[in-house]
């Protein structure tokens, strides 16, 4: 079992080169990209989106390319398994691949293949949009947006306290985990189950203790039900808005113009 990684994408977001750009612009860019990508009927728009956003992430935001590639691969097994089902089941059109199995025959048709390509491209485009948001927008900047969405105050307070608590608890998790590894806690499957259960229960108890300390800490500073929200530090500028509009225009056109696929 590999070590617990206590570095989240949020840390990269806090240090990325696009940190200074207005959060709302970045969010609109990312969400808009995902929306256009999943609404397209041909792969052109999603792949365009994937290409542009990937370049922005690696070259403008200066996220290490290796990390970015590793992140793109995270949903790979899910994508692969799902697409296999879609490829062999959704059918329509001319069969291009048949795999005879003892109890039934798997048939992939050309329509299914095209369909699978579109689905995969949407997934890639969408994932790039998600990663764009994850890698360029620190969570601390998003809480004020939650408030402007008129979500309940208690919910936002909970999200903020939860956010901070994650980092305290993950620190404890790493410490406990390392202590276990040093005593060969994970050397077999069975030991691993026991070890991780002990890790989780210790973590739970420490988390709970922290919760009670938290209550004391809040009371110590006269808690009266209120939490401060951090206001945005910048405003969108024309030089930020124009490229985004251009990007949306091109990807929108690619998505909604009746372009032929496959290209003849």
């Amino acid at each position: 079992m590999q070590s617990i990684d206590h570095h989240f994408l949020d840390d990269y977001a806090c240090r990325n080169a696009l940190r200074g750009i207005d959060t709302r612009i970045k969010l609109i860019l990312g969400l808009g990209a995902i929306l256009i990508a999943i609404s397209a009927d041909t792969p052109y728009a999603p792949l365009f989106i994937a290409l542009i956003l990937s370049m922005v992430i690696v070259f403008l935001a200066q996220i290490p390319a290796r990390l970015y590639l590793a992140l793109l691969l995270i949903p790979a097994s899910f994508a692969l398994m799902s697409v296999i089902v879609i490829l062999f089941l959704t059918g329509g059109g001319v069969p291009i691949l048949t795999i005879p199995l003892p109890w039934f025959t798997l048939t992939a048709t050309d329509a299914a293949a095209l369909h699978s390509l579109i689905i995969l491209s949407r997934a890639i485009g969408g994932t790039c949009g998600l990663l764009f948001i994850a890698l360029t927008t620190p969570m601390i900047e998003l809480f004020s947006i939650l408030r402007s969405l008129r979500l309940p105050d208690e919910f936002i307070d909970l999200a903020m306290l939860l956010y901070r608590s994650i980092f305290v608890i993950i620190g404890e998790a790493v410490a406990i985990y390392n202590a276990q590894v040093m005593r060969n806690g994970y050397s077999s499957f069975r030991k691993g189950i026991v070890a991780i259960s002990m890790l989780a229960s210790s973590l739970f108890i420490r988390a709970w203790d922290r919760g009670e300390e938290l209550m004391t800490a809040m009371d110590l500073r006269c808690y009266d039900g209120k939490f401060e929200i951090l206001e945005p530090s910048s405003a969108p500028t024309i030089s930020q808005i124009l490229p985004v509009l251009l990007f949306f225009s091109i990807s929108g056109l690619l998505a909604f113009l009746p372009l032929p696929f496959p290209p003849l």
Binding site: V168, E213, R221
Partner: protein, 394 residues
């Protein structure tokens, strides 16, 4: 005689189902004092501190803040907690907001201050602890010392009259610990009563003007550091060791080299006494000058010109304003804590020193150097320079 800042009267406390953690505690803290509660682990220090702001309620006896007994209704408790701020040993327990700004603003916000007032309070508090510019940082991106300072800022923003620290330097490296103690000194200068718990006797000896020794839930003694720490029996009972300077003094006294009574207040005084007794003829060289730069209005070229014309030059910096100016000018200081005493020690070694500071600390420097010159009959020369000061000898 104004009411003591905090007073404990016949206080006992036991956690439910456990034997007494605190027995018959009675003592009081004077306003503006710097008190150290010293004792081994498990002595009851944290428990006692938690009594001071109503977090724990005594089983018998009472706690008085500003002469008034603490009432345990929620509104009265909020008032107590505004007056009596507390900083935990573990800063992670105390920083709970996603960013430094939000965390420091928590106190003022929940006290009902308006938005502009909150912004001002946060800005002042962050400035006081030297964390201006850290507003948008999440706490997990701060170092241990920065977290401690952020926790202190959160409490300072509520403008408390009394500040309580549970083991303020426990998880800090020596530099970080020195920074915090310097900060506490500065806060105390502004009139805030400070009570801290520690098992670091060196810290208590050098910083406190009042020491309470606690062990097994009972107060062993209460008095000025000199008298408390010299009592070897009490120190042993409290599972503590003596500060090195006192231990040295005691041994020298046992050998008849020094007098047992009148223990030295610190390293400087000890060095003075030893020099006075040196068998060889003391070299009577005039001490090097101590320059003083007031940087309240910023740092001008005086310091740099001193650095080029005088060598070796030791630079001491006191207070957050001065430290920030120095950091901005990318000049590193040689001492940041116990600056006055260290400066005197170096001046006596013929090493020129310059002290950079501002505000109320300027007077302290003058006072202490005058005091030392009179007591030791060594003519130290303190030379304020820079701005429109002309060099004048003290």
């Amino acid at each position: 005689m104004p009411a003591p800042a905090i007073e404990f009267r016949d206080l006992t406390f036991a956690y439910t189902g456990h034997p007494d953690s605190l027995k018959n505690i009675s003592f009081s803290l004077q306003r503006g004092s710097r008190t150290a509660l010293v004792g081994p682990n498990g002595a009851g220090k944290t428990t006692l501190l938690l009594m001071c702001n109503g977090t724990l309620r005594p089983t018998t006896g009472e706690v008085l803040v500003g002469g008034e007994p603490i009432q345990y209704g929620s509104r009265q408790l909020r008032e107590v907690r505004r007056k009596v701020g507390m900083v935990f040993q573990n800063s992670d327990s105390q920083l709970f907001a996603p960013t430094v700004y939000q965390d420091v603003a928590f106190g003022p916000l929940n006290l009902g201050l308006g938005e502009d007032e909150i912004r001002q309070a946060v800005s002042d508090a962050l400035f006081a602890v030297g964390l201006t510019g850290y507003e948008r940082r999440p706490p997990h991106h701060l170092s241990g010392g920065e977290k401690k300072r952020a926790a202190i800022a959160g409490v300072l923003a509520m403008k408390p009259e009394i500040l309580i620290f549970d083991e303020p330097t426990s998880s800090l490296d020596p530099a970080g610990a020195a920074e915090i103690m310097d900060l506490l000194e500065e806060i105390n200068q502004q009139g805030v009563t400070i009570l801290l718990s520690t098992h670091d006797v060196e810290l208590a000896y050098s910083w406190a003007d009042d020491v309470v020794l606690i062990e097994g839930g009972e107060i062993l003694t209460h008095g000025p550091p000199g008298s408390v720490f010299c009592d070897a029996d009490l120190m042993r009972r409290a599972h503590l060791t003596q500060p090195a300077v006192l231990s040295l003094h005691h041994h020298l006294a046992c050998r008849g080299i020094m007098k047992e009574s009148d223990p030295p207040a610190g390293l400087l005084e000890m060095a003075q006494r030893i020099e006075e007794m040196a068998v060889t003829t003391p070299k009577i060289h005039a001490p090097a000058p101590i320059y003083l730069i007031d940087c309240s209005n910023g740092l001008d070229e005086t310091l740099r010109s001193l650095m080029t014309t005088v060598s070796p030059l030791r630079i001491g910096v006191m207070g957050t304003t001065a430290k920030r100016h120095l950091a901005g000018a990318e000049i590193s200081a040689d001492f940041t804590y116990g600056v006055i005493d260290a400066s005197i020690l170096h001046a006596l070694r013929q090493e020129t020193v310059v002290i950079v500071t501002s505000g109320g600390m300027i007077d302290r420097v003058h006072k202490r150097i005058l005091e030392f010159s009179e007591e030791s009959t060594i003519p130290l020369s303190l030379c304020p320079v820079g701005g429109d000061n002309t060099a004048e000898k003290v």
